[in-house]
Symmetry: C2
């Protein structure tokens, strides 16, 4: 239910010309300038539903289109979201949806939807608002590095402003009403993407994950729910959104992440001290294969780039910075590769192009002292 | 039984100062200048026993020492073996024996023996005469590339000259009498070392080996009897030495090797034509790992050097020649590495030094057009 007519209807609706505008720069959560360390990015998302409509999964197409239009108008009214990008799931092709997924602007689930589902994003991609995913609204803020508190502030601001245009379904007892009961309460999920190559090399990832799960955190691979951890990238998020305030959820995750960082740093130090040749070898091989391979599958590239990132962070690699690794992490995913080449590519063609792009960007890199 | 006193007793017996003299140069069968292709080396060896003595396995130490002395004196008399190198198995340490094995001057079996066993070799290492291995004499000629006929001529000349000093055990019916019945007859074993990466990548090595075994040839890995083929290096030799003349044995092997060469060349052409990216990737990865690894086990190095050799021979690799690969093949084996470093090294230390030596020698190498 739309609370009031958008105030700035004359505001120009930006035609983004597909996803091309996104391709030319790296996603801000992988900011080239930002010195990300163990924590690659921080994300907070809120689930919201608009009063007076069926959940997207129950609504027919006509109603979904109405809901989408209503939310879209509200979004264009937000002071905190000037000149947003808009992508309609009904008109985007498969490759463009892949690009948005790879930039973490949309979920797998939204990508599978069509007419009546969409995403609005800030030009800097820090804010993304998915419309008619599982809920009417999924509001997300994503920032580079360890910035959970800032991400929360950012999305809380958007959410508050949005509430002046839309009336949310809210129950005094259950909090925000969501399509899936697991999101009831604050309907908040806070997550961080962690790079844990030290723990992996020291064979200590398992115990850390088990410990996290015991105290109520979910740990997933970088590609989301149910995926393996490639590239030693792990997403840690709160399991429960009920019974705690937003601030408590964020605070607990901040604490736990600082613990994991300490473990990872210790593992790296131990490797440097007592298994230096092994460590250098792992990093060197990753670099050597990335520089000389002619065929690189996506997952292998992730794993090898993890090795190079570790090498850079430990000061063992020269002539390449974390920014380049971040850029490659994004650009060498299937959607981006196809967008870059301007054509649909087979898996084999992608693997060849990936090797070529990586080889070019890493040219001149080497182990220090070699 | 010594036929006659050596004629040139005043000939200077060269003290070789251990194996140090060998280390500084590559073995001639891996000659740096020789453009070896699919056939790396050709070898012919003859087994001989001296009349009037027990076979080495039955003789006591005192008798073995007498036999050894007798043969040594004969060797020093050979016109065709001027200033031979002499290595006594009773005084060589483990590392030196490894070096001699790696240079293919002695067998595993001779290396395990002590006092009373020895080897004499020409300064250019093309000729090696093992004394009191399984037989009193094992005469070998080894040459780079496809040179079986020349190797046979060389060792036949040594053998004829030797017969003027020593009386061999010979039976009109059985030919040369040998400790193991499998060597009876000509007591000749001719072998070639083949590099078959094309057949391996095309998954066709198995059928070729089976075919060879069916027509009476033995196929082994490079490290000799009962070993796996590392580095795509295979030794092909005649199984039987009885019932054929020396010339026939050599001729049959020459023919069969030319067949295998054709198969290998075809496999390489097919790879170049229809799986070029895969081929380049295999070669590139080999090069990348060799350049950037900090720990390289012996067998992995063999396998990777095989990839680089293939790349050079197909004109796909720049700034490195086959000679360098040959040199590395020899120098990065455990014995040579320890000799080079001047100390006994653990397996871990060897793997690190191996990676270092290879990285230095291959520096600047790359895929063409990259």
């Amino acid at each position: 239910m739309l609370k009031k007519a958008p105030e700035r209807e004359n505001r120009r609706m930006v035609d983004t010309g597909g996803v091309d505008a996104l391709i030319s720069h790296a996603s801000p959560w992988l900011s080239l300038r930002h010195k990300t360390g163990i924590v690659i990015s921080s994300r907070v998302r809120l689930a919201r539903n608009v009063r007076g409509h069926f959940f997207p999964g129950w609504a027919g197409e006509a109603e979904r289109v109405r809901i989408c239009q209503e939310i879209k108008e509200a979004c264009y009214s937000l002071e905190r979201l000037p000149q947003p990008l808009y992508f309609d799931m009904g008109t985007l092709d498969h490759v463009d949806k892949e690009v948005l997924k790879e930039r973490r602007l949309i979920s797998n689930e939204l990508a599978q939807r069509g007419t009546g589902s969409a995403v609005m994003a800030s030009a800097d991609e820090r804010i993304a608002i998915m419309i008619n995913e599982e809920d009417h609204l999924r509001l997300q803020a994503i920032l580079p590095g360890m910035n959970l508190a800032e991400a929360w502030t950012l999305i809380d601001g958007i959410d508050s402003e949005m509430e002046s245009y839309l009336e949310y379904e809210f129950s005094q007892k259950l909090g925000y009403v969501t399509a899936c009961p697991s999101n009831l309460g604050t309907a908040l999920r806070a997550s961080v993407m962690l790079h844990l190559p030290g723990l992996k090399l020291a064979d200590e990832v398992g115990p850390v994950i088990n410990g996290l799960e015991r105290i109520g955190f979910a740990v997933r691979g970088v590609e989301g729910e149910g995926t393996e951890a490639h590239g030693n990238l792990f997403q840690v998020s709160n399991q429960m959104s009920l019974g705690e305030t937003e601030a408590d959820i964020i605070e607990r995750l901040v604490q736990v992440v600082s613990e994991i960082e300490r473990h990872e740093e210790n593992a790296r130090l131990r490797l440097l001290e007592s298994r230096r040749a092994f460590l250098l070898d792992q990093i060197g091989r990753a670099l050597g294969i990335l520089l000389y391979a002619r065929v690189l599958a996506s997952r292998e590239a992730l794993d090898l780039l993890s090795g190079v990132r570790l090498g850079i962070e430990l000061g063992l690699v020269r002539n390449v910075d974390v920014g380049t690794v971040n850029e490659l992490l994004l650009l060498t995913q299937p959607g981006h590769l196809q967008r870059l080449s301007g054509q649909k590519l087979s898996a084999e063609e992608r693997d060849e192009l990936r090797a070529q792009v990586i080889g070019q960007r890493l040219k001149g890199a080497g182990l220090k002292g070699a």
